[in-house]
């Protein structure tokens, strides 16, 4: 069955539609079904989900193992805070919070990809850059560390950051429900945008490069440039997440560059499933909810539990939640003929 040119005979297409429907329903119903505290929390989850998408994209599709995706999130957060502190009207800062991290990703990516850094070194370099930013931002407590009118505030972080306002009017700040709408709208756009990108020529070449860089080069693709583009898109998207993230509590501190946060993003992706977009989002929201729950009690340390979870997943569900669920569904519901192209061909192969 085909709807609007989309072949429904695959989990993939069904899943995409389902996810979009859920997100659109949440977009409109969110402020009605959640109390104010929950709405704040959900808004933060949504911002983090955008970060998870960016990681799922560059790692799962682009094959770029970046252990410092949080650096771009943090840069987006700080860029917004500094810019809005100077300008006082949020439209410019909002876009700067996307452009600055994207530009930083492009610069960093240029040296990594054109320097032909291998996977492991790339992971190490991105993590190192994140930790350098962490140490630098922590050392900016002095008054001399200011960009324009905005002091950087060192390890105390920047607080009372002015929220996003309606474009053009710095006094018409968005209410929490409006910030939720904006964040959710951004998430939907990012998800749909990446879905389209992955189906496009660009996205298919990205996957081909992930599968076999040498073959892509031998066919005439400039792998370095292509990876750089993928990485830059991911950096901009993570920056957007950071901008929305600071609007959750009008606060940012150097912990956005800390090792814990960098590691969490990797966990979201591994647990949710590499090579999917929704998987990392599921992993992200699941772990964040768990973190909030654990935070409510004093018995044990969050990262102890996270460590246990990641070990269980790596050993028991190595493919991650979503790919495993797809495989199970295909095994137990084969009569529905829902298997994707890959799965179908695997079945053909088995016969």
């Amino acid at each position: 069955m085909t709807v609007l040119g989309v072949n429904l005979r695959s989990w993939e297409a069904l899943g995409t539609i389902l996810v979009l429907v859920v997100m659109v329903v949440l977009l409109f119903a969110g402020p009605q079904i959640f109390d104010l505290f929950t709405l704040f929390k959900v808004t933060l989850f949504v911002a983090m989900a955008i970060l998870a998408l960016s990681m799922g994209f560059i790692w799962g599709y682009g094959g770029i193992l970046c252990f410092g995706q949080s650096a771009f999130y943090g840069l987006g957060a700080y860029t917004y805070a500094i810019a809005v502190g100077n300008i006082g009207e949020s439209t410019g800062p909002f876009f700067l919070a996307i452009i600055v991290p994207a530009a930083f990703a492009a610069l960093l990516g240029y040296f990594m990809f054109y320097g032909r850094l291998s996977d492991v070194y790339l992971a190490v370099v991105t993590l190192a850059v994140t930790l350098i930013l962490y140490n630098f931002m922590r050392s900016t407590a002095g008054e001399e560390y200011a960009i324009g009118a905005q002091r950087l505030m060192g390890f105390n972080g920047i607080s009372s950051i002015q929220p996003i306002n309606w474009p053009g009017d710095g006094n018409a700040m968005l209410f929490p429900d409006e910030i939720f709408h904006l964040s959710m709208g951004c998430l939907i756009l990012c998800y749909a945008g990446l879905k389209l990108l992955n189906r496009s020529y660009f996205g298919r070449v990205a996957v081909a490069i992930r599968e076999n860089e040498l073959r892509a080069e031998l066919l005439g693709y400039d792998v370095r440039l292509h990876k750089l583009q993928t990485f830059t898109i991911g950096g901009g998207m993570a920056g957007l997440a950071g901008c929305l993230g600071v609007n959750f509590n009008s606060f940012v501190n150097p912990d956005v560059f800390a090792l814990n946060f960098a590691a969490e993003i990797i966990m979201w992706t591994l647990i949710g499933g590499l090579g999917t977009l929704v998987g990392p989002v599921i992993g992200c929201i699941g772990l964040l909810m768990l973190k909030f729950e654990i935070g409510q009690q004093q018995i044990t340390n969050t990262y102890l539990i996270f460590g246990g979870i990641i070990m269980v997943f790596v050993l028991a569900v190595p493919a991650g939640l979503l790919p495993t669920a797809r495989q199970l569904a295909d095994r137990f519901l084969p009569g529905l003929g829902l298997g994707g192209a890959e799965v179908e061909s695997r079945r053909e192969a088995a016969q």
């Binding site: 076999n212 073959r215 080069e217 031998l218 066919l219 400039d222 192209a341 061909s345 192969a349």
Partner: protein, 246 residues
């Protein structure tokens, strides 16, 4: 035909091409020339440097010394992808394909680099037909047999209509039937494209090639017709003898 062809400029020339790995000289001061439209076979025992020679031509390895000219243009320092864009296609010894993608996707990604969306789809169908891969179009390449994967790789190479194709052991792992089909296919491709083929199968070489270049310990030992080479005692000693004995 281009000016280069009519002027008799060789399609490929190397001068003093050398590749060292530490103390091992895998390609040793090779001067190689072939003309437009030729189908040349490279033979030589394992470790003679044939694959390394191909890797230097396509800049998978940066040669230690020497120059490579393609249609008169110096491509020694060009990147692998630039050499591909100039029109050199290669099928590597170990099949290099996109294992996680389907046969169709493999060839589509290759075709799309040269053609618009519609045209690419048309080309893919043509290639699938030509390489008898239509029935396998939706299969994941990683699950195919060695011979089938070789055909997929050749398919991706053909989409760009390269002017020179390098084939590194194209019949390895193929059934007798498949070898015959590949013979026909190579003959057909050679009508429009210059080719260098690395092979061990003597029947196959006799069927496709006029001139044969013998590699030995990284250097060119001799270049001649297969018929003459079979009479050459030196060649028999280092290579054919072993083959016949095997």
């Amino acid at each position: 035909m281009t000016d280069a062809a009519t002027n008799g400029v060789p399609i490929l020339e190397t001068h003093g091409l050398t590749m060292r790995f530490g103390g091992v000289v895998a390609v040793d001061n090779v001067d190689f020339t072939m003309s437009e439209g030729e189908l040349r076979c490279l033979i030589g025992p394992n470790g003679a440097g044939k694959s390394t020679f191909f890797k230097c031509l396509t800049h998978q390895y940066k040669a230690s010394a020497g120059r490579v000219r393609f249609r008169g243009a110096d491509i020694t320092g060009s990147h692998t992808y630039q050499i591909a864009r100039r029109g050199i296609g290669i099928k590597t010894q170990v099949p290099s394909v996109f294992d996680g993608l389907s046969v169709h996707e493999n060839i589509w990604v290759a075709a799309r680099r040269h053609h618009g969306r519609r045209e690419a789809n048309r080309i893919v169908e043509g290639i699938l037909e030509r390489l008898r891969l239509s029935a396998l179009a939706r299969r994941v390449v990683g699950q195919l047999a060695h011979g089938e994967r070789q055909r997929v790789e050749l398919g991706t190479v053909l989409t760009g209509e390269p002017e020179l194709i390098l084939l590194d052991e194209p019949t390895a792992g193929m059934t007798h039937e498949e070898v015959n089909q590949t013979t026909d296919l190579i003959r057909e491709i050679n009508k429009t494209t210059s080719m260098i083929v690395v092979e061990h199968d003597m029947q196959f070489i006799k069927a496709i090639a006029e001139r044969v270049t013998v590699f030995h310990q990284g250097a060119i030992l001799i270049e001649d017709t297969m018929a003459n080479l079979e009479q050459n005692q030196q060649v028999r000693d280092i290579y054919l003898g072993k083959q016949h004995a095997a």
